[in-house]
Every structure is written in structure tokens, then in C-alpha cells.
Amino acid sequence: MAPAPVGISKILWTRFTWRHWCQAPVSSFLLLLILALGVATFFSIRLANRAAVLSFQNFAGLITSQSDGIITAPAGALSESVLPELRQRLGRSPVTLVPVLEASAVAPTLDAHQTFGPRPTFQLLGLDLISLANLSRPSDGLQRWFADSDPTQDSGKDFLSVLDRSDSVFISPALARRDQLKTGSRLSLVINARPVELRVAGLIPDDPRQPAAPVNLMILDLPALQHLTAREGQLDRVELVLPEGPQRAAQWAHLQQRLQPPGDAGPARWRLSSPAERRSAASTMTQAFRLNLTILSLLALLVGLYLVFQGLEGAVVRRRNEIAVLRSIGVTSRQIQRMWLMEAATIGLVGGLLGLGLGWLGAQGAVRMVGLTVNALYYATSVETAPFDLPEAILALFLAVLASILAGVRPARTAANTPPAQIASRAGAASDPPGRFLGRPGIGGILLILGIGLTWFPPLHLAGGTRVPVAAYAAALCWIFSAGIFSGSLLAGMGRLCQRLKPGSVTLRLASSQLRSPSGRHRLAVASLVCAVGMTAGMAILVGSFDTTMRGWIARTFQADLYISSDGAQTASSDSRIPPETWKAVAAHPAVERVNLIQVMPLEINGVSTLVVGNHMDFFRDYAHPAWVSAPANDDVFRPDRNAAQVLVSESFAARFNVRRGDTVTVPTPGGPRTVTVAGIFSDYGNERGSLLLEQEQFSKWFETDLAVSLILAVRPGQDPETLRAELRAAHPGLGIFTSSYLRGEALRIFRQTFAVTYALELIGLVVAVAGLAFTLASLLWERRTDLNTLRALGLRRGELAGAAAWEGALMAAAGTIAGLAVSLALGWLLIYRINLQTFGWTLQTDRPWGQLAALSLLVLASATLTGGIVGRWAARLPAEREE
């Protein structure tokens, strides 16, 4: 075949493709918009995830620029006595050591009514304000901190006054603007259950080379924060900063070697890690959560791509005659194919670009929802915006274009195979409908069985304790496809049934005649609806089961009378603590019968992050009524005198660390590693990192702390918890005190909040699927427009034609919904017993929210019928095909 003249592609593009687009601007735009919606969903979730991970920021990094290394304790706090030791080890190395202490604080609640759950939290950063001067490179040093503090004072005096009092705090310029604070302003906060009043000593200076200080960041002199948090002598970490210069790399290698913990001299007192390692630890923590979101968001993209396929197929049909003419005037089939692929790629590109814009907007909303979940479950974030990210954008655009081209391959081949006009005939045109494989129930059966087989596979274990249920996801895919295939048979069955019933309605008869032997296009549309309905209903079953399980767990677990924590510190990420003098005073109240003291230490076991919890085991048994996955063999674990390093672990801990009852676990502590024995495994939905429960006294000794995270009180018989609550609240204004009934409601509310993103994603998937149905109907009716004209000539009214289309849509929706619901039951099982269990280690009690499923079905049916009617009305107005 001789190569075509260079200009032919251009001519084909402008005279053919572009002209068609211009002729039907609304539907072209809709197609682009739906693809854009799919891309946008994917892109916005990726951006929001990214922002949530990035927001695990090293706040100190804002001040120190990028540190080169970080020293932390193997477990718990780092003693400041390591500082001279580190300096000595480093010898002559020109390393700046930046000790850091972190704390959080909230504004006190002024009225008696406290609300449970996350409140705006301030991050308090304790830094040596004097040695900060050594970090700025290059800069005008400390004056940036003290320059604006008070113009009437000289800087030196101010400097001393800052160091001399422990209530001096530097706030972000953003907070100063928001709350109209200035130097000398007073600021009331609750730190570790203690109300304190701080004095604004100045603003955190803006540095053009660094991002602006977040509004909730506050900086105090390190010893002042130690004092305020009752953590004298303690640090959270030491950041190492090397001077700039060509020797930097060599210095870092030297430093790593110097800081190797001594091999022989007892337990390691510190651990050296790079900032990258710390960031990746944070991102590992939320990996499973983010992966699930990404997979959900891909669903919307996939359905969008299916629409591109549909749209292109429809276009091939509509332009078949023109293609035939082109062929007859010598345009080769290869050129035709190239033209269609270019069209597909253009749709992908334009839709993708549009999607990037929409996605970026969506990300600003999604990031708050993702941030909410991350905050509640993992670590403190202050994320409010999701910045645009070029690599993510390129990925989304690449996916959109690539998948559009893939979706265009088949339509392009169909177009290329169009015979020249001379031999074209309508019968030949319909001979190659898409989605023919969907008409083979045998394949459906094979996929079904393959899916069943896949459910036996264990999850894939990644570093950092993340488990990915790859096989289970594959099984879900098999089942969805399988249900899609069977739904075609169902549609045909429904069509035949309607015919046999010989309904009086002419519209229904017309509709069912189309469905008796459904075209590939019918089957595809229904299959995509099955996919959307199945996934949505499956998730609804998962969430419903989660909800039921949580309600049971909450009712069981919150059986004591009062729950106390530092005010505003009710998230997993809070580092607020109750100091011993406070909890001792509370415990000594005459109305208190029994007390459980909860202490928590987040740490890493074998490089996997988890929580070690100190508590009174007998109180846990009596008031939390644990549901046992593996019950203790005897009562020893509950008796402090016989406990002997026995622990209880949560189900997620057991799954994360692959331990069973009777196994031992080695826990790092400041005094060296300790070995404990797992006495029992209980169900827990509090956190996904897993918890290891230790008798409180043991915990206190091992981790050298008497700070409590929370207190649980059982009130003496005859005493009123509300009265006690009011009394304690008056005596300790820095405490958040809640009754069990209040807490039960709130815990559930927060739990439901974390599913907000999931709901949003499913809704988008569903909208896209219904839109797909509309597209299918439209192109089917277009193909049949001559028949429609004949029917009108026979006396059918437009309304009746619209009614027939509505019936067609409704029947397709019904078939899709029925098959979708069927597969959703299977998916629900898969989500609960495989995907969720394998990812998070949470066993759930299955609950099918029939009400929700029914509402979902009605919604799909109604919108499909409605769209069918609208499309039918449009089709009834189509002019008859001109005779050639």
C-alpha cells in the first residue's frame, strides 16, 4: 500500500472527526465530562492521599530546614542526658544537634458542656531558642525571632525575659492575624489536662525559603515546654544538621559510623534514622487505607473508560456511511483506523485535562475528609489543602489517554473493516456488535469458579506490616465480570418472559422485543451497571456490618461510668497526657469505686509500628467485656500477682505480627528489650495498628512513665455518675470527662465520619454508570431510527416511543440491579472476610442493610427509567435516515 499523502490525516481530522464533534456538541461534551469525572475522581483521591501523607510533617523542619538525621529513643522518650554523649561520640564533627520536644494543646472549653472528638489542636514545638541562631543559613539570625517582639524594649532585655519565664510562646503570623494576637497577648490553653496561660513573646518569623508556619504551630523554649508538659529531662528526638559544603556527604557517612549504638554496652539508648525513613514510616502507617481509596477511585475511572468505548462504538455506527464513502474514494483501512485511534486519544487527552482541573478542585474537598480519617486513626495532620502535583497529574493523564486508546482499539477496527460504499449494506454493518463475549455464560462460569479459588490465597505482605489482599481483589474482579456476563442472560430471560406474558402495553412489548436477544451493546451497558451496583452495594454491606459490629463493640466496651482524658485529646494521634497528681486526685475521690489507668506507648516492633497499652487487666475484663478471638487459658493474666509478663493482644496486632496465643513477643523498652507472652487475643476496632495490653504497673516500670492517656472510672453503687462528672469537671478544668452513654454515641459518629470518603466515591461511580446506560440507549435508538420512523408512520405517538425507551432502560436497569445485588452479596462477604480482615485484621459481624440496598435499587431503576424516557423522546424526534 502506497503511503498516503502527508496531509490526509489532517483533512480527515478537520473534515470528518472534528465536523462530527461540532455537529453534536452537547453529547460530545457530555462524553468528555464523564471521562473527566472519572479522571477527576482518581486524581483528587491521589492528591488528597498525598497531601495527607505529606502533612505528616516534621514541624521542626520548618525551622531547621532539612535535617540530615534524626535520633530517637528505641522506645518512649529520649533522655536529655544522651546529648553530651552524642556530642562526645561525634568528636570533632561540625554537626549541629537540635533537640526537639513536641506536645499538643487545645483551647479550653469555657462552658460546662464538653464535646468529645477532635478539636482544633495546637502543635507545640520545644526548641532551644538560643541555638536556633546557629541553624539559619544564611540569615540574620535570632533577631528574626526577637526583632518585632516589642519595639519599646531593647532586644536583649526581651531575649532574657523570654528565657526567664516558661510561659513565653511564639505563634504563627497566621494565628496572630486570625485571633488578633500580638506580642504580650495572653493565650489560654490546656496542655496535658492542665489549663495554662501563655504569653505571646513574638511571631515565628517568615522565611521565604520555607513554607509558612501552619496556623496551629507554636514554638516555645525547650526547657519551658519540658516544664509545662511535666517532662523535665525528656526529649522526643534530636535532629542532626550538617553544615553546607562539599564535604557534606563524607560527613554524613562519618557521622553514621560514629553514632552506631555500642554493640556491647547494654541496650541501645538511641536510634539513628534519616528523615526519609521517618516519612516512609508515616506513609506505611496509612498505606492500606490509601490503597483502598485508590482502588475505589479507579472504579470511577474504569466506568468512565467504558463510556469512551460506548461513545466511540456509537460514533462508528453513526458515521458508517461516511466511512464507506471515504473507503470508496481510496482512503485505506489503516488510515481509517489511525483516525479513530487519534480520536480516542484526543478524547482521553481533553477529558483527562478537564479531569485534572475538576480533580484538583475535588481534592480540596477530599483532603479534608481524608485528613479527618488520618487524624482520627493515625497521626496529627493539619492538612487543609492538597497542592497540585505534577507527577500525579501526568500519571492520571497518562492513564486517561492510554485507556481511551485501548477503549478505541475495537471501534477503530470496526471502522477500518467497514467496506467501501459500493458494497456496503446495512445488514453487514450490524454483523459485528461489541461485547459479544458477554453472551457466553461459559466464560461467566469459569470466572465464578476462578474467583472462588482465589479466595483461598493469603494476602501479600509488604514491609512495615502492610498487607495487601491481592488475590481477594482479583477474586472480586472475577466475580464482577462473571455477574456481568450472567446479567446479559438475565436480560434475555426477562425479555422472553415479557414476551410470553403478552402484556397489554404496546410500549413494554416493543421494549421487550429488543431485549429478547440483547445486542452486545445491551449486554455491555448492563454489565457496567452490575459493576457499579455490585461495588456500591458490596461496600454498603461492609459498612453496615462494620456499623453493627462497632455498635456491639461500643456497647460492650464502654460499660464503666466515666471516661476521662486530657481535654480535647480524643484521637489516636494525640500526645496529651494526664499528669500523676491529677489522676491520683481523681482516683482518690470517695465516689469512685474502681479505676483503670490507661497508658499508651506508640513504638515499633521489628520495624512495624504498633501501640503498647498499660492498663489494669481485671478492670478490662470486668468493664470492657472483650470478645475473645482466642480466650486466655486461665485467669493468671488478669491477676497482677501472677501476671508475669503475660499480655493480651488485639486481633489486628495478632494479624500484623502473625502471633497466636502462647507465642512470645519482644518489646523494646528504655531498659532494653523485654519478652512477653500472648495470653489471649481479643476483638478490637479502636485502631488498625494493633494493641498489646500490658498490666499497668509493669508498663509504668518498663517505660519509666506515670503519665496516663486516660482514666476509666466505675462509680460506687448509689452514686450518680453525672454528679461526679460535674464535681470532677469543676476541680479539674483541663480534663475532658464523658459518661459512657454520651461516649457510645460519639464514638459511632466519629467512626461513621471516617467512611464519608467512601460514600462520595461510590456515588460518583453510580452516576457514571447511569450516564453510561443513557449513552447506550441513545446509540441503540440512533441505530434504530429508521424503525422508529416506521413505527411512527404506523401510528405510534412520540410519547409511546419514549415509553418504550423508558421500559427498555428500566428492564436493563432491573437486570443490572438484580445481578448487581447478587454479586454484592458475594462482594460483601469478600470485603468482610477477606479484604478487610486481611488488610486490617478486623473480624466483623455480617449485617446486610436491606433498606439501603432497596433504596439503591430503586434509585438506579428510577434514574434509568427516567433517562430512558428522555432519550426516547429525543430519539422519537430524529429525522428518518435519508435514502441514498
Binding site: E80, S81, L83, P84, R87, L90, G91, R92, S93, P94, V95, T96, L97, D128, I130, S131, A133, N134, S136, P138, S139, D140, G141, L142, Q143, F146, D154, S155, G156, K157, D158, F159, L160, L163, D164, D221, L222, P223, G233, L242, P243, E244, G245, P246, Q247, R248, A250, Q251
Partner: protein
């Protein structure tokens, strides 16, 4: 004015008192004239005449005084024709009195003392000048011993090496600048220190409390190593070390000072400072001290010397115009003859811009020539109060 002004203290106070550190204590200067009190209003000791110095204890820190520094400047030669000048300065400034005890409370993050330090190196052959400043509170990363010389700030330190023989006394200095300059030097005084001033007290201004104990090793033998990047070389040379102890040094109308340490090829050493007043005149408490081969000092007043600035250098960084060629004509009290010293920087830009302390000053290696342009020695010159004055702030 961008930078807080430099201190108006006597001689070498310049950099130390930089900025905030400095500023806070300037308030304490109000000790009245007349009878010399034992302490300042804030309770810091005032140098008293007749003090007997006991070594090595008096090489160490004196926290009962507000301000103290150990100030080393020197000239080094490496392999071939490599020639360097270096400065190593450790300052201590008390933010509050230690409450009767000499020792600050044990704390990793104290705020009784502030330690500022400056390290600088000039390559006389290439003109390359590098410096670094460091500021720390007393505690885990900065301290000064009270029983011997042992002062450190981060990875920089200056300490007396263990020895029983007074003749073999030596100090060890370690300094780094950035990631790639590192010098470790052994400093041997050879002779007992010069004690400047009258009866152990060096006056700076008309106010009698503005005075210091001023101890100097004018010519210490230096040997050690200097690493520039990956290249380590051995170096030898001579250094000047001041140890000055005071609680307040400022005169009311002083804007800055010029200071000189001259090491002459004939073995003699001179120390000179000119306190500059607001009206541009030289304060009567300025001095030229002639140190003989036995480390005895003879002081002469401003009527016995003439300090002429022949050339200036404009700093592009701070905009200050520093003297760049100085003629000192001074009457030698031993001979009664006037001698002429032409002091010229070896490298024009040896300015420490004061990023950390907030005060810019010039401290640099110089050559010394006589009236016939013959090279007769080496010097270090310090110039403060040119970038900005403290006046107007108070």
C-alpha cells in the same frame, strides 16, 4: 539600621557583646563614679586592683563577672608558601548572677550564661576569608570550667592540656568552619601572661567600674593541622591570646574602638586600642602598651601616640567604611623615641558580618612596616562600631 549597633565598650569587646547578648547588659553600666564598689547594681563583681592571679585556675571561667572572653588570633604557615591567619574567640556573657555561687546550676538548657564564639580563617595567598559564628546557652553544648582553661561551644573547644610543669604549659584549640575547614592547634605560651593595666586592672573609660582584668599571652608557638576540604596539612606559626574578665566596660559616649596586636620581628609585642567617641575624638583611656621580651608591659596614653587612617575599605555587605591602612606613631617609653608602624590588611575583606550576634566588625591579619616600608612584623587589627553605632538605641 539593620543590625543592632556594636557595643561601646573598651577594646576588644566588639563582637561578643553582639546584639542581644550585649544589649541586655549595657543597662548594667550605670555604676557611679567615685569610690569603686565591689559589685555592679546587678550584683556582678567589678575588677579590683591588687588581685592576685593563680594559674591554671585563673585561665578558667569567672562566672562572678558578667563578661569574659578568650580571644586568639594568629598567623600560620603551611607547606610551601601557604600562609594563613586565624581567629578563634570564645565569649561568655552572664544573663544573671549566679546567686552567690560560682557554679551555674546543673542544667542541660541553662540560661544563666550565653556563650558566643567566632572562628575565622583567612588564606593570605588566595585572599579567601571564611568565618562562622555560634551561639549557645550554658548547658550540654557550651560550658566553661572554673578551675582551669576548658571552654567549649559545640564541637569547638579551647582547653589546657594536662601537664604539671609550668614551662610546658600548652593549650589545645579545635575549630571548624562549615563542613570543610577544620583546624586543631597546640598553643604553647612559653612565658607567663602579661597582665595589662594598672595593678591588675585595665581601665576603659572614665567610669571606674568600666574596667577589666586583662591577661595576655602575646606570642604563643603554634603547631597543628589544618584541613581545607579533603587536604590536611601540618601548620606552624605564632598566636596572640587575650583572656579578659569584666562586668562593665562601656563609656557613655563611646561608639566603637580600633584595636591592634603587633608581633614584631625583633621579638617585641605591642597592644594598642583607641576608644572612639561620638564626636570622632579619641577617648583619654585609649592606650598603647609596649611589651618587652620578659612580658612586662609599659602603658602610654593618647598624648604619646598618633593614630592616623590613611585609607579606607568599603564593605559591600554592610556598607561600613573600615580603616584599611593605619599609621601608628608612638613614643617608645623605654627609649623616648617615636616609632612608626604602618598596619595594612593582608586581605581587604576580613569582615565578620554578624549574622548570629547581630553586630558586624572587622578582624583581620595585617602586615606591619616601618617608615621605610620595610616589613617589621605582623598584626591583627580589630575595628568595631563602623557598621553601626549603639548610640541612639539608648
Amino acid at each position: 539600621m539593620k543590625h543592632p549597633p556594636p557595643p561601646i565598650t573598651a577594646q576588644r569587646t566588639g563582637p561578643i557583646l553582639a546584639g542581644l547578648v550585649l544589649a541586655s547588659w549595657l543597662f548594667s553600666l550605670a555604676a557611679g563614679a567615685g569610690e569603686l564598689p565591689a559589685t555592679t547594681a546587678e550584683g556582678f563583681a567589678i575588677p579590683q586592683p591588687g588581685r592576685e592571679f593563680i594559674f591554671p585556675r585563673d585561665h578558667g571561667s569567672h562566672p562572678e563577672f558578667a563578661v569574659e572572653w578568650w580571644y586568639i588570633t594568629g598567623h600560620l604557615t603551611g607547606s610551601g608558601d601557604e600562609r594563613f591567619g586565624f581567629q578563634a574567640t570564645f565569649f561568655r556573657r552572664a544573663l544573671k548572677t549566679s546567686g552567690g555561687t560560682n557554679l551555674p546550676p546543673e542544667s542541660a538548657f541553662g540560661h544563666e550564661q550565653i556563650y558566643l564564639a567566632h572562628m575565622a580563617l583567612v588564606n593570605k595567598s588566595t585572599g579567601d576569608f571564611r568565618y562562622q559564628e555560634r551561639l549557645n546557652r550554658n548547658g550540654w553544648d557550651a560550658a566553661a570550667a572554673t578551675d582551669t582553661l576548658d571552654v567549649r561551644n559545640g564541637n569547638w573547644y579551647l582547653r589546657r592540656m594536662a601537664t604539671n610543669a609550668p614551662d610546658a604549659e600548652a593549650f589545645e584549640l579545635h575549630a571548624t568552619i562549615g563542613a570543610d575547614i577544620d583546624f586543631q592547634l597546640r598553643l604553647a605560651p612559653g612565658k607567663p601572661p602579661v597582665i595589662f593595666g594598672s595593678n591588675g586592672v585595665s581601665r576603659k573609660a572614665a567610669e571606674p567600674s568600666a574596667a577589666s582584668h586583662y591577661l595576655t599571652f602575646p606570642r604563643m608557638a603554634v603547631s597543628g593541622t589544618l584541613a581545607l576540604g579533603e587536604v590536611l596539612r601540618t601548620v606552624t606559626g605564632e598566636a596572640w591570646m587575650d583572656h579578659e574578665i569584666s562586668s562593665s566596660q562601656l563609656g557613655k559616649d563611646q561608639v566603637g574602638w580600633d584595636w591592634l596586636s603587633l608581633q614584631l620581628l625583633d621579638g617585641r609585642n605591642l597592644m594598642a586600642y583607641r576608644m572612639r567617641r561620638t564626636d570622632g575624638t579619641t577617648d583619654p583611656y585609649s592606650t598603647v602598651a609596649w611589651v618587652d621580651l620578659q612580658n612586662r608591659a609599659r602603658h602610654t596614653g593618647p598624648d604619646q601616640f598618633q593614630w592616623t587612617i590613611l585609607k579606607r575599605w568599603h564593605s559591600p555587605k554592610t556598607g561600613a567604611d573600615y580603616p584599611a591602612l593605619v599609621r601608628l606613631e608612638a613614643v617608645n617609653p623605654a627609649t623616648g623615641r617615636t616609632e612608626q608602624f604602618l598596619v595594612e590588611p593582608e586581605v581587604a575583606d576580613q569582615e565578620l558580618a554578624g549574622a548570629t550576634g547581630g553586630v558586624a566588625y572587622w578582624e583581620g591579619a595585617c602586615t606591619v612596616r616601618d617608615g621605610q616600608q620595610k616589613l617589621i612584623g605582623r598584626a591583627y587589627m580589630e575595628l568595631t562600631g563602623y557598621a553601626a553605632s549603639l548610640r541612639g538605641k539608648f
